[in-house]
């Protein structure tokens, strides 16, 4: 296993006092808390910081850790000395209770949150703690449902009495219709319980990666559909993309750019399923060719159309003084 330099993780000197360690921990915990932080790998950093603080805040654990000596470098291969822990009795309580996912290094030196790692005086817990993680999926996975393999680490006692983190893979079926921010619960995949209690659960929070065509609003999806001016003016039947494949939809006559049309039940599946909203975007045909120019010129001549008529009616159109004059 690799040596962990807890002083380096917190960024404090080996001589730092308890107050300094607490202050630094609080600052880093706020910065990397996975519920709050936008930093990359915030969760890993938060766990590292928690693990370091778990050792350095406890005078007994800190003293034992300091006894290993300052000659070790972070990441260096490490085995605890044979007389490790002699004269100390580590008790797990307070922050340690909630410290999940600590490293092999920690588990070997101080025990883990397992029935085996606890020593006298540890509170008895009937049910194992829950674990939380985030998983990113594509929108298509949410629409069709998907299978994902998740790697979990569980502390276990080895034949020689040490605690090691054992990796296991679980296959998870992501149910169709899962929306951004929702959780799925995997019963019994959290931490093991003390004695014969049930294991905790694993909660996976779903994140959905941005999609090139569709945006999500809860279970509804939004897509921008380009339309020609005559399709909007006269009405038309056009093809629109949906998560289940393209469908024919009717554009009503007199449609406007930016108008939202609803395709009922074409969003993410569920009870009830979401809808798809098609936002119309008027696209003008290029006017470079002689034929196109002629048609544009004909429209200019024959249609009495002022696109800024509404704008001109607004107070303030002729400048700030105009609006003030009207008010007084």
């Amino acid at each position: 296993m690799e040596y962990k330099d807890y002083y380096k993780v917190l960024g404090v000197a080996r001589t730092a006092n308890a107050d300094e360690i607490k202050r630094t921990y609080r600052k880093l915990a706020r910065r990397y808390h996975p519920d709050v932080s936008k930093e990359p790998q915030a969760e890993e950093k938060f766990k590292e910081v928690q693990e370091a603080y778990e050792v350095l805040r406890d005078p007994e654990k800190r003293a034992a850790y300091d006894q290993l000596g300052a000659q070790w470098k972070a990441g260096e291969q490490f085995r605890p000395p044979p007389d490790w822990g002699k004269g100390y009795e580590f008790s797990f309580g307070g922050g340690g209770e909630d410290a999940e996912g600590f490293s092999d290094f920690f588990a070997n030196l101080f025990g883990a949150r397992t029935p085996f790692g606890r020593t006298g005086g540890a509170p008895f817990r009937r049910r194992g703690g829950d674990r939380h993680a985030r998983i990113e999926i594509d929108l298509e996975d949410s629409y069709h449902g998907a299978e994902r393999t998740i790697r979990l680490q569980n502390p276990e006692v080895t034949a020689d009495g040490h605690v090691a983190l054992r990796e296991k893979e679980v296959r998870v079926t992501i149910p169709a219709g899962v929306a951004e921010g929702q959780q799925i619960r995997l019963r019994g995949q959290g931490e093991s319980a003390a004695a014969n209690g049930a294991a905790g659960d694993l909660y996976l929070e779903i994140g959905i990666r941005p999609h090139p065509l569709f945006q999500l609003e809860g279970r509804d999806v939004v897509v921008t559909l380009p339309v020609a001016p005559w399709e909007a003016a006269l009405g038309a039947s056009v093809e629109a993309p949906t998560l289940g494949g393209p469908v024919e939809m009717k554009i009503p006559s007199g449609a406007r750019s930016g108008q939202r049309l609803r395709l009922k039940g074409r969003g993410l599946p569920g009870q009830p399923p979401g809808d798809e909203f098609v936002v119309l975007k008027l696209v003008l045909p290029p006017g470079e060719s002689p034929r196109a120019r002629a048609l544009y010129e004909q429209m200019q001549r024959d249609l009495a159309f002022d696109p800024r008529a509404e704008l001109k009616r607004q107070p303030g159109y002729r400048g700030a003084s105009d609006a003030t004059r009207k008010e007084t």
Binding site: R26, D35, V170, E180, Q182, K281
Partner: protein, 106 residues
């Protein structure tokens, strides 16, 4: 590494609904904390009396987040409730911003 296990999965969407007792069990929280969370407006309960309370999956997520913030950062419940509120608001704004940016790129 041991072979893959297939595990039971439960989707906690808006149709998922839990009682006060179940929510306490899921959050490893006591009933008094739950009442306090409702008092602070962190959780919205359906039903008049606590015995009739029903909570949505959203409430479960908010309660779990608040309890983690309390345990990890040492904030009190009022502070945790405020942070959860602001986090939800930040999430909604980030999603809206992403949508508008996508529209601008088109």
């Amino acid at each position: 590494m041991c072979p893959q296990d297939k595990v039971e999965v439960e989707l906690l969407d808006e149709t998922a609904c839990v009682s006060a007792g179940e929510l306490c069990r899921l959050c490893s929280a006591d009933f008094a904390s739950l009442v306090e969370m409702v008092d602070w407006g962190l959780l919205e309960a359906e039903g008049k009396r606590p015995q009739e309370w029903r909570f949505s999956a959203r409430a479960l997520r908010r309660a779990q987040t608040a309890l983690r913030l309390q345990a990890d950062l040492g904030v009190n419940l009022a502070g945790a409730a405020l942070i959860v509120e602001l986090l939800d608001e930040r999430g909604a704004l980030a999603r809206r911003l992403a949508q508008l940016e996508a529209l601008l790129q088109e």
